[in-house]
Structures are given as C-alpha cells and as structure tokens.
Symmetry: C2
Subunit: 258 residues, 2 copies
C-alpha cells in the first residue's frame, strides 16, 4: 500500500536524509514513528520539550497565542525541518505553541538521546547532524524574518498565497485539508478576510475549495501573485540545502493525503 510506504521512511525528512549513512544508522534505532493528527499540540508555550520531531508527511505550526487569545504563526515546519531546536540551543522551553496544521506522520526522538548525539559529535565523531541542524536554524530564522516583514507590509491576499505555497512545498500533493477558520487563526486575521481572499484566488482560477479542503489549480499563478517574502525564504532554503531543492518535482497533480 502506498500510504504505508509513504509514512515508513525517516529519510522522507530532508534533514535526516542529508545525514551520512553512518550517522543515519546510528540514529535510526532511536527514532519512533508517530501519527500526527490535525490540531494536536506538540509543545505548549513554556512547556519543557521532551521530544524532537522530524516531520515526514505532516506540517506543524509554531504559533504564539496572546493573552487575549489572538494568535500569529511564527513559522511553519514540515519535512524540510525539525521541531524542538530549543533542545539543541539549550533553552529547554519556548514561549510558543507547536500545533499540527496538516495531519500526517513524524519521527520523534527523546530529548536525552538527542543530546547524547550532540555530545558524540562534539567528541569529533562527525558532527554532521549538528551542522545540518545549525543550517536548518539559519533557514528557520530567515523564515521568521520574512514573516516579520510580511506581517508589516503585505496584504492578506499575499499572505494567503505565501501560506498556501509554503504548505505545498511541504506536502506531496496539491490538496490541503484545512479550514479558512484555521488559516485565519494561523495568519492572525479574521476568518472573513480569508474567505474573501480565498474567493479572489478562486475567481482568478488559482485555487478551488470546498468546506475544509483547498485544491491548488495553478501554482505558478500563486507564485506570481505572492510577495517577495516567499521567494526570499525559498531561495535561502535552496541555497543551504541544495540537494533537497531537486527532490520534489511534484508531478502528480491530484493525490489526496489522508
């Protein structure tokens, strides 16, 4: 069954896939496959991290929730990254929430084995994982930086385009299972604004949607309409992980995932 194949390899995560064989094999027995249902909260703000997660087919949002309940997405992490960089940095907790935005799977790693891996590396046994994670942190910082800019200067329409493209980059199909309500929550805007923006995109023939389901019909069209923020992050990501940028040609147009 294709689904089983899809969820069964840690190498679907680009960071893990970038590991040399020796380090990969050392890490493998420590990884545990876990399902990631929509809406699951991996870390609560201020909560001590117990696992790091390497998403394979899911997408996770880092979200700040304000005292009054309003929220904003800080960053989006899928199979290109890792959740729990605070473990590497020694922070233990972060003042934001990690919540599953698109259901799927991830491999998780207990805090303790992860830290032991770093110790091993500092002892000069390679250090590939450390360096890969540092490069990923660079990409993450870039993503956050552009989110700052985007939140300041760009319209909701552009923001939505960026959001959709970022989801596409992390999924194996052109279909997203997500409500406008949830998107609004992520972008920190009203649901009505998303409704309107989505309708604009649908009229332009770029997407098609119905009740919690969005199909992207014309990705190049989205890329034309999106603000520079998306491209800056994409470019930086491709620059730092060149081997990955060729991995996802994404030919199949329709292939629903779970």
């Amino acid at each position: 069954m294709i689904q089983t194949e899809l969820k069964s390899s840690p190498r679907q995560n680009h960071l893990i896939n970038a590991l040399p064989v020796v380090e990969y094999e050392h890490l493998l027995p420590l990884l545990e496959l876990v399902p990631m249902p929509l809406g699951e909260v991996l870390y609560e703000s201020g909560e001590k991290l117990r696992y790091a997660y390497f998403p394979t087919t899911c997408i996770v949002s880092l979200l700040y929730v304000m005292e009054n309940g309003a929220s904003a997405e800080i960053a989006m992490v899928g199979n290109e990254g890792i959740l729990g960089v605070a473990l590497l940095m020694g922070g233990e907790t972060m003042p934001n929430r990690a919540v599953v935005l698109s259901a799927g799977y991830a491999y998780r790693l207990r805090e303790y084995p992860l830290l032991r891996e770093f110790e091993r590396m500092e002892g000069n046994h390679g250090g590939a994982l450390l360096h890969i994670l540092l490069r990923y942190i660079h990409v993450l910082i870039t993503q956050m930086a552009q989110t700052v800019v985007c939140n300041r200067h760009h319209s909701i329409d552009q923001h939505l385009c960026r959001f959709l493209l970022m989801c596409l980059d992390r999924l194996p199909s052109y279909e997203l299972n997500i409500t406008q309500e949830l998107i609004a929550h992520m972008l920190g805007v009203r649901r009505e604004s998303i409704t309107e923006a989505a309708r604009t995109l649908q009229i332009a023939g770029l997407i098609n949607y119905r009740r919690g389901h969005i199909t992207v019909l014309n990705r190049p069209g989205l890329e034309e309409r999106v603000c520079e923020c998306y491209h800056v992050v994409k470019k930086e990501s491709d620059r730092l992980f060149p081997e990955i940028s060729q991995v996802m040609p994404l030919r199949p147009r329709i292939l629903t995932l779970g």
Copy 2:
C-alpha cells in the same frame, strides 16, 4: 576619562563576559575594538560576512529592505548579543542588512579565527562559547518571534514603547540619539505616525524629546503601556542569561553617551 574606560573592555559585552577565564583569555588577542558610527552598514543583504561583532556600547539593527524600499526591523542587537550568527550556522550570508542604530563601540572578530574557535571546541576544549552562542540564538529567535506577533497585532504606540525599552536595555543611559524618521524606518511605518505616537508619550509624561534626541522620563510608565511582546522576550532573555539580568541596575538617570 570615563569614556575610555567605558569603551575599553570586551567584558561589557554580556556574551563575552559569560565566558570562563581560560576561554576569555584565548579569545582576547583576536578581538579588535572598532567604533560604530550611526548609520554604518555592517553587512549588506546577501553579502558574505567577514567579521562577527560583539557590541559593547552600540546598538545594531537587523533590517530587511524590500524591493520597493520599504523596510522592517527583524531584530535589535546590543551588548547582550552578537552579530554574525550566520557564521556559526554555516550560512555565510543573510538576506538582510545590519545597520548601526545607536553609535558606540564593538569588538570584532574575523570570520576565520571564529570558526577555528568552534573547531577547538568541538575537539572538547570546553565549548563554552558555542553553548553561549546557541543560547543567544534562542533569545534572538524569541525576539524575532515576538516581532512577528507585534507587527501583526499591536498598535504603533505599543510598538514604539517596545522599541524604546529595547534601546534602554542596551544603553547605559535614559537618552537616545535617534530621529523619528529613523525610528519609523526601523518599525516600517510612516514618520508621521511616530511623531504622533511620540507626542502621545510626551503628553503622558513618559518621554521628552527634541530634534533627534529622546529622553525617557518614566521607564516604569513605558513598561505599563508596552505590549506583552516586550516582556516575553525580556523574561526569556533573563531566564537564559540569569547572571546578566542583574548587571544593569541603571541608577544614573542622565548620562549622555557620545
């Protein structure tokens, strides 16, 4: 002369100050004191980093400048941090600009010796610098995350309060030498909006200003008015660098710098 004293020790930078004596003494001969005049551009977007900077008495802004010239501040770095974390992460360049926001001094370190320091550490000679920098990256990420939130949800008034408080945290006095125009550029808003916000604060008796010069009269007042974003970052910073949070009682009320 007090000025000379003030600018003369690398330990004025909190990260350097947190180093154990052995590592500090090893780093010392590699550090070069440089003046940081207002407006100086340390790194241009996409430009290869040649130095890392440890500010002592200056403040530097990480700024993204859009294609159309509009801009937004990504993060602010002063004596609590370091510029050039991309060197550690292996990114070499960043898609944003680093520009001096408040004149002063910094110690700089060539790219090459810095990387050699890291190699030394991975060879298990301590690693204090590496771990300190990782903790700082955590704080930096937190700062950026809150800037995302602030840009999305908070008013220009609150944003200005946050900006002023962040400057105060990095300076030895309650006086800032900065024009409204420059603040507007940093926050990514119109100059007129800053004029109005500043006037509001002045009427409330919190600040006093004249042509490129702002005096904070009532810091607690600003702290009451600022959004939670400021406090979240401050708290996280104090948590990760507890020794530092007691360093700056900042008793002297008026003590102009440069």
